[in-house]
Symmetry: C2
Subunit: 159 residues, 2 copies
Amino acid sequence: MPTGVEIERKFLVQRVPDGLDAGEPIDQGYLAIADDGVEVRVRRRGEATVLTVKSGPAMVRVEEEMAIDERRFETLWGLTGGRRVSKTRHLIPLDGALTAELDVYAGALEGLLTAEIEFPSVAASEAFTPPAWLGPEVTGDKRFAAQALALHGRPQDER
Amino acid sequence: MPTGVEIERKFLVQRVPDGLDAGEPIDQGYLAIADDGVEVRVRRRGEATVLTVKSGPAMVRVEEEMAIDERRFETLWGLTGGRRVSKTRHLIPLDGALTAELDVYAGALEGLLTAEIEFPSVAASEAFTPPAWLGPEVTGDKRFAAQALALHGRPQDER
């Protein structure tokens, strides 16, 4: 398995599970996205504010992250209108030393909840039995990628 | 006159004037440009490498410039294929304490030369008599803006 490959599964969530932590607010806005998939975004996660440039789909993807200060974040955030995702991320421990990242969306995406689980191996991902609070699986469904949610909003026909 | 307003005129140049300085190479590439005009570019000018975010046309334009190191510039430059301008900028002193910035383009824009002159006032810009080496004026012609040249190349019908 090449380094840097992530094995993840993603699910919709219908109801917030009990006993959640306070969560961490995440604001993510796209400054611009090129036709070839290069994207430039700003993100605030807790106190950390960064600007990230990512290449489009390719064998070797480029990702460059730069810390920016709060003043600069606020200025650049103002340029991302109509291309934003705001959510609160909760970490939920699962059996087998796994963790679900539950994202509770706000703003235009209010009502949407997704959960992502990262696995140490393909075998572990295939052996995973989703707990009852996880809804339909949307792994690989591009409509639920951050960029698609920011640009196109919540899918109408969620499945 | 509000601060920050630039009064500039731009001309095509047919022949490189005699006695030029060595000039300074400028490489500029666009990472991504949004539909509303937000653009993100990287630029190397001499030894200086920066990433700049600019808002689209608006009463108050935002421009945020961040210094990046050479390693990061090279990585990001690799994402700007098909959206680049490379040129050498020469400074040419003119009468009346004015300076022409002569840009001699290279690569896909080889053969194109433009000169820009900034004026201290509207009156000075109107009183300006172009020296003989300046060709047709293209002030305000968006086809010769850096972004347009990077994306669309040299205009076919230059005038």
